[in-house]
Symmetry: D2
Subunit: 307 residues, 4 copies
């Protein structure tokens, strides 16, 4: 395993779909171009925003090949290998390494209840199967388990993990990771909304779902903190805070929270001309025309779309 | 889809593994024989007790072929198709139908948050892909969502679902299903410990993990209720209540609850000579020799093993 | 402390209020009469159904004096002493004993997180302050902590607790209490809907909120099980299951679940002429006229009110 | 109600107890002096750190009188009026106003489940009963309900609430309050560990439990942010982050998390000579001598105690 120290903005790419629920390769290629033009430091595919757990193995393969091909080595490509168990995630690790990704990203096992010692065993085996660095993905709202800081730090010190993407929303735990991490251990936040704070106390970068829609905004935010311009950073963060209200447009009484949020990201990219169809993966309820129009208004307010 | 009205004891078979974590085909065949000799009315493979979410697609295939072959039509075989999304579960449905199972059993999607309307869409598509009856599996402790009774009943009335396996532990909801179900809709409880009660108020049968260890005990319990012998049934239930204490033998401070419970079932079957190795799927921590011996003592107390 | 072994139906009385949120003493007296006429084996005041945690100390005192006076020794009166800490619950214990109740009922401490050893200390001190038997009240949905069976059984064996009212909804834990309890330890279920089952496997009685509305129905159910008439019991339980749908009439989008349930019990008693005003305690949102009329229809369907 | 716009460090004072569980008035007076010497901008009594829900009404009265007397108008005194219902909290409001506090602080009702509309009614009635400004206290870990930002902002705009103490740990929600609040609405964070961040994005001040132990440290942190010295602030925050490890010294397998944290604060104040006895309120398990010594080592490491 070679080292990979991430820094900057690494958006978790959505997976554009056609109206018949196939991967829309042309749209995905345009999305990669949109991100690179925005100045991102890397891309993360098949994560939660990428609806990785919705896709078949064949569809995952199409996503990997498309993105690795389009990125063509300009920035690192990280691949989610999220699945219920070590054996199943391990198969995704092997597939992703064959395609040529630069890092793989795994959650704890889920569905079955697990113990921290079992989570450690899980990451150890995945790391030994990976030809590239392994990152942990801490997303307790989906997995049901918060990765304990002590487990992450131990695995970091032993060289099992190259870093963590923290989507726990627990700023205290995140800060402990930054304070106590071994040299070279990458800490990325999955937050969209507290990025200036997190960068200020030392995280290396950010993996924001909203970065699909406005990668350049997050890059400006990152650069402002790096340059010591906290007032500029806060102002940019506040603008993105308002933009994030697109996830509240769809009616939560008729669809799940994931459908509303991912549907908003896809609707925005559709309105921006980046992707060809705003559909989210089956069985998610799609946004209706009024909801998509409402998202358009918020894009205009944020300066991303002409009024 | 042909009708399949289940009744009686349908244990969720564990998946015996070799010391190198392969499916132990010979042990699995012996387990099928042990169940049939115990008088079960059906078997359920690749469920939670079967560690279905731990196994690779290839391992799932081996389990399906082995069990369908060994059962050879003597009782119905149900197959779990548990996975994170409709597309992924759908692939398991197709695979299981090809092997020749008699019914398939699916949870709601998990990892991503879902809405009841999305859960309905999920089951509708799976049913249309299945050549055999589809049963819902309600296990909120693992999936994170309780299947609402209203959704189950609506899907039953529309012929999408043939029934439900209820492992929610919510006796009130279970009772509502029994009271309000359409004709021919099967209701099975996944409880090990309140079976006499559930049968008394009208459920059709039971899918007890502990039935792996003592299928004949559950069959006696079922027959006693059917014959109106509630005192006999209660006494048998109380004996099985005590036997279930095998899941508390392993030290929960060093392994997860799943590992302790499934490890106990497998250790018991190992001590009874049914399976060749008590290992649970990776990354589960295995039981140690003392813990296995402790389970042996409880088997002796329950009259299943000579002292 | 004298012994008090409860058995039968012991409804948790609601606290009727006037339109200015005072305790309605005349209505409370009529409610006591309605319960005694229904054949109850005891009454429980200032519990969750009694809105005990909503009332001031002065209002609690009025309730205690009214009910003890009206019951006049015909059946035991139990009093809730629910509060956040040992010192605060202890003050309620002293007040209730002075009025002359026959038993006191306490939850674990809440608001602050507690450890089982701290819960034991809590009950020990309350028992030493009480001149009458102390019962534990297990209601994790409100308190945030499930009382462990091991703690309850230990306190029972040491004579600290005389019994438990189990409103946990966990039938397995309830069954363990029945199987393992020391002699003379009372186990009551707080369920409205699984009473025939619970009585069949050995609980002593039931504390059903719905018993406010139909005490005679629960008494018939209890008597049927005692006489071995399980078919009659199941039929009565099914009728009460339907009657319990009164708690689903009020619109949950505009009020809390407690307000909807307690408001339904009070609306029913108001329609039955037992209490003078259906108001629940401030800040609960009251039911509107349409909702009250809807409850009336269900009372008619259940045979409690002329159509 | 007069206006009260808070800013700076307002520690939630612990309540020192004697070995017989009475309020230790002399220690409480010394604690007030220690805080004022540390430069705090106010004090908050009878909150969660103050074990307000553990104390009887008489003990609460002693705390209020002692602190108001000792502070003698040098800084504002805020009083917790935490209780299960509007009527019960309202009685605490009246008592606190009589003693002469400068603001009162209330949670949502708890024990019973409440709806946002009911929470609004609760605060409205408390505000009308208070002669001083009313602050909301958002602590979902204890109350079971997160106060929705929309409710807080609406109550702020209508003049019902003067501000909020946010102990939710939800930095996103906190940031929304700062962005959207009406003029004059105070936002304080209850966090000990993300104070530099919170002050940077605009909260007015901090109510840190750890401020009991090191008020001067938090004042330095606040002053550094105000002066634009973020590197100094981050360094002070990191030192306090390490000091907060005192709450992890006590053995969580034998006591609750509250007991371990509050016991640590009290042990530290005892070792610093501020209070005479480290006991926490009954039924909390007290720290043992080894645990207290371990806390002493951490105080020495933090430069608060000679080695």
């Amino acid at each position: 395993m070679t080292a990979l120290h991430l820094s900057g903005v690494v958006p978790p790419l959505v997976t554009p779909l056609t109206s018949s629920y196939d991967v829309d390769v042309a749209s995905l290629a345009r999305l990669v171009g949109y991100q690179l033009a925005g100045g991102v430091a890397g891309v993360f595919v098949l994560g939660t925003s990428g609806e990785g757990t919705f896709l078949t193995d064949e569809q995952r393969q199409v996503v990997l090949e498309t993105v690795v091909g389009e990125v063509a080595g300009q920035v690192p490509v990280l691949a989610g290998v999220i699945d219920t168990s070590t054996a199943r995630s391990g198969a995704h690790v092997v597939a992703a390494c064959k395609v040529g990704v630069d890092g793989v990203v795994a959650t704890a096992p889920f569905y079955a209840a697990t113990h921290p010692a079992e989570i450690s065993r899980h990451f150890e085996r995945l790391a030994s199967a990976a030809e590239v660095p392994l990152f942990a993905y801490d997303i307790p709202a989906r997995v049901g388990t918060k990765l304990p800081a002590s487990v992450l730090l131990d695995l970091g010190e032993r060289g099992v993990l190259a870093g963590v993407k923290d989507s726990s929303g627990d700023e205290t735990s995140l800060r402990r990771l930054v304070l106590d991490r071994p040299a070279g251990f990458t800490v990325m936040t999955g937050s969209e909304l507290t990025v200036d704070s997190a960068l200020s106390f030392g995280v290396d970068g950010v993996v924001p779902g909203l970065g699909n829609v406005d990668p350049a905004g997050y890059v400006r935010l990152f650069d402002a903190v790096a340059a010591g311009g906290l007032a500029v950073a806060r102002s940019e963060q506040d603008r993105l805070f308002r933009l994030f209200e697109i996830i509240e447009v769809a009616d939560r009484s008729r669809m799940g929270a994931s459908s509303a949020a991912l549907g908003a990201f896809k609707a925005a990219l559709y309105l921006l001309g980046v992707i060809g169809c705003p559909l989210t993966a089956y069985p998610s309820i799609p946004l209706n025309d009024d909801e998509i129009a409402g998202i358009g208004s918020l894009l205009t307010r944020a300066g991303l779309l002409a009024g």
